[in-house]
């Protein structure tokens, strides 16, 4: 087995991983940094983010507003110290990207432009047309080539986190092209592997979004936090789940049901007019909009599509062809090529699909996980800024703000600690190698795709937009059975080099761990908050007295063990979460007195 030595190893080459690598390399050019990614970094799923990234710039906006939008949007499950740090650093990161060449859309005076997003009081979403994630990722990736101290291990699949003396000290990676194992020893490890949306059937995510980093940490004894909170994005393509950005609504798009009625006004988001209006109707938060769809479907007011999925209409026609081409070119392309719909002529059929995991590896506001030497940033992490529902355009900003912190913190940690004994680490790596090779050699009766699809369906059935104890229990039972089935999967491909079926089997192992953490955390949270909504008696409303707490799912030999941890509240005590006219009233009652008290 090849052995490599670095100061910092970063797992994941998306926005957060690249930002971390650049930060560590800038902090100390003498540090040797490894960036390990199972795909070429520019293929990472950051590439698919469309609408934009948050950063306060307008004179009428403020860090207070960004803080309040985020905490309210998260239904008060956010760690407010992390949110304060976050909002204070978003804008400088947007400017940093600008200095690195990100082609932000501009105002006529040459300044970067901003647009509105859901649940946002004042426009603060920086955007590069509707290709924001693509441009951010390529900007970061290409900029990373400036730093000779960053060694990229492209197309290397991480199959184990190496822990010794109670510290994360490296990873074991499989070179995809050859199937050879490499032990990467390092003084600190950053996990930046993104989310886990592929555990659900209908999702916006790329095939690579399989929760690898979350599962690596979980298997090393790190509990996963707030895993029950999974975001359904309300406007996705029926069948494939491909994303139509929230910027469609930010630019003025409306949602109508089969009768042409703007149904959101029936779900506490109205009144419908005047339009557009921030924090109301189509500019409400994602959880509320997806929940409204669910009710419309129950009422029989949605439209059947050829894929067999119900939908509503996303109507952009009134924005005009020229505006659509300028601001939403990718949306036009997706609608035309995948659906044969010209959005200037016809509404786009859309429905909710799984988009984002709010929970993940718990970290403090400086990205340190409970395992010393381990840092996490981006969607795989739960730094605490999203609470029970993430606000649109906070995740791209998060990649930068906390990716940078993770890179710097890991660099500091690596400089302050000795390396593990390589021979001890190597024996651990050999055990991990044997485990990773097992699926290649064992015989069995199960088919990989069937187990994977059964998992995705069980998650959708039991852990969807609305949940019940009974449904979640059934999903938990199915997942337990599927873990047994997964151990009996027979592969059709037994070569070591470029065996993507083998790697998919390892990914499925990760996915099942993450799915179980989600379902069991959901079962334990006997209330409704943000993206976790329950229909069973006694659980249909938010219950701060019992559940203003984070869940922590810990791995055991059997089902995950669920425990609880405190939410950090610094300045915004839990209040009423409302949008539309009700939201304006709630803001008067809640936010304004706090602001006054703070100013007094």
């Amino acid at each position: 087995m090849e052995r490599l030595d670095f100061d910092v190893v970063i797992v994941g080459g998306g926005g957060a991983g690249l930002r971390a690598a650049i930060a560590a390399a800038s902090l100390d050019p003498k540090l040797r940094i490894a960036l390990v990614s199972k795909v070429y970094p520019m293929r990472s799923h950051t590439v698919a983010a469309e609408g934009g990234a948050a950063g306060v710039v307008l004179p009428e906006d403020s860090l207070e507003h960004h803080f309040n939008d985020t905490v309210t949007g998260g239904d008060w499950l956010c760690d407010q110290d992390a949110v304060e740090y976050f909002v204070a650093h978003c804008t400088e990161e947007m400017i940093q990207l600008e200095h690195w060449g990100c082609p932000w859309s501009r105002r006529p005076d040459g300044r970067a432009n901003v647009r509105a997003f859901g649940g946002m009081k004042i426009e603060r979403t920086w955007f590069a047309a509707d290709l924001t994630g693509f441009h951010m990722l390529h900007t970061l990736f290409q900029t990373s080539m400036k730093y000779p101290s960053i060694t990229r291990l492209d197309e290397h699949f991480v199959c184990d986190l190496l822990v010794q003396d109670g510290r994360a000290q490296g990873v074991l990676a499989i070179e995809v092209a050859t199937g050879e194992f490499k032990m990467v020893r390092a003084g600190a490890v950053v996990i930046a592997t993104g989310g886990a949306g592929r555990v659900f059937r209908q999702n916006t995510n790329g095939g690579i979004v399989t929760g690898d980093g979350m599962a690596l940490a979980y298997r090393s004894g790190v509990p996963l936090r707030d895993m029950e909170f999974v975001q359904y994005h309300p406007t996705c393509m029926p069948g494939t789940g491909l994303l139509f950005t929230e910027a469609c609504r930010g630019e003025g798009g409306i949602l109508t049901n089969k009768d042409g009625y703007r149904y959101l006004q029936d779900y506490g988001l109205g009144p419908a007019d005047p339009w557009p209006r921030k924090k109301a109707m189509e500019l409400g938060p994602r959880d509320r909009l997806s929940q409204a769809f669910w009710h419309e479907q129950k009422k029989g007011r949605t439209i059947m599509t050829p894929s067999g999925d119900e939908c509503v209409n996303l109507d952009l026609r009134h924005l005009g062809r020229a505006h659509l081409r300028e601001r939403l070119p990718q949306i036009c392309e997706l609608a035309e090529q995948f659906l044969g719909v010209d959005p200037a002529e016809k509404p786009i059929p859309v429905r909710p699909a799984v988009h984002y995991t709010m929970g993940g590896i718990p970290t403090d506001k400086l990205t340190a996980a409970p395992l010393p030497g381990l840092f996490a940033a981006g969607e795989c992490a739960s730094v605490g800024i999203h609470g029970a529902n993430r606000l649109g355009s906070n995740s791209l900003a998060e990649l930068c703000v906390f990716g940078k912190v993770a890179g710097e913190q890991a660099a500091h940690f690596a400089r302050a600690h000795d390396r593990a004994d390589a021979s001890v680490l190597a024996s651990q790596a050999r055990d991990a190698e044997d485990r990773a090779l097992a699926p290649l050699t064992r015989g069995g009766t199960e088919r990989l795709a069937c187990v994977r699809d059964a998992m995705a369906r069980a998650m959708e059935d039991g852990c969807g937009i609305y949940r019940t104890a009974e449904g979640m229990q059934e999903t938990c039972d199915t997942l337990a059975e599927l873990r047994q089935s997964a151990a009996r999967i027979a592969l059709g491909h037994h070569a070591r080099g470029w065996n993507t079926e083998w790697l998919a089997a390892l990914e499925l192992g990760y996915q099942l761990e993450v799915a179980e953490a989600m379902a069991h955390s959901g079962l334990a949270r006997r209330e409704s908050r943000g993206a976790h909504q329950r229909l069973d008696a006694g659980c249909t409303t938010r219950d701060d007295a019992r559940f203003l707490k984070h869940t922590l799912a810990s791995r055991t030999q059997g089902a995950p063990r669920i425990s609880w941890s405190e939410v950090v509240i610094t300045k915004s005590p839990p209040g009423t979460r409302a949008y539309g006219a009700a939201g304006e009233a709630a803001e008067k009652a809640h936010v304004e007195p706090i602001a006054k008290a703070a100013n007094a």
């Binding site: 293929r43 060449g101 400036k146 050829p306 894929s307 470029w498």
Partner: protein
Amino acid sequence: MPEARNITIEVLRYDPDGDGPPYLQAFPIEFTDDMSVLQGLQQIKDFQDGSLTFRWSCRMAICGSCGMMIDGTPSLACRSFLRDYLPGPLRVEALAHFPIERDLVVDAGDFMAKLARIKPYIIPKEVKPLSAGEYLQTPEDLERYEQFSHCINCMLCYAACPQYGLDNKWLGPGVTALLHRYNSDSRDGAAGERMQLAHEPEGVWGCTAVGYCSEVCPKAVDPANAVNQNKTKSAVSFFARFLGGE
């Protein structure tokens, strides 16, 4: 549910561990009209032959992973639809002009090395601290390079370029478009440095102006246009040097 139809996908298989040359294997599949070629390949991998190997991720023509030859044309499998190849069979092969690693997977190392060579990052004309805010760039300034920044690195243009097929030393269309992207950016001050690469025999002069690269580009980057603009620049600067003007 939409009606299912049948089509056969012929895939060029290559096993680096075996001794044989690449060979075609036919897989009959059932498909619906909304299915992409990528979904067809996934169906084969899931239910017929787990060893069929290809790269993919986003499914929405932005990650650039799933470039391959479909009926001889460099294409992204995720945004090519099976219905457009009826009655079939359709033939799927690895991207032309690259070494094959397995089945539809090619070695992208050459492209990645070339990308690094052009210094694909801003080397600022004027350094300013973050506290001074963003560089001003009007929509017109942005327009000068924006199209060239849309390259998703899918390498279809390399598979389309006959010159690259003959001699892969030349920089190639996609990387030249990115060179032009940085040189045309009002924030950048290193055009002279990058133009050295364009002047070289392996630079823009490797291109014989076939223009097929721009036809197959899924993002309308128009690399042929970038190459041509740089031929003009390269020629002008050559004569300027000849006349002692530079």
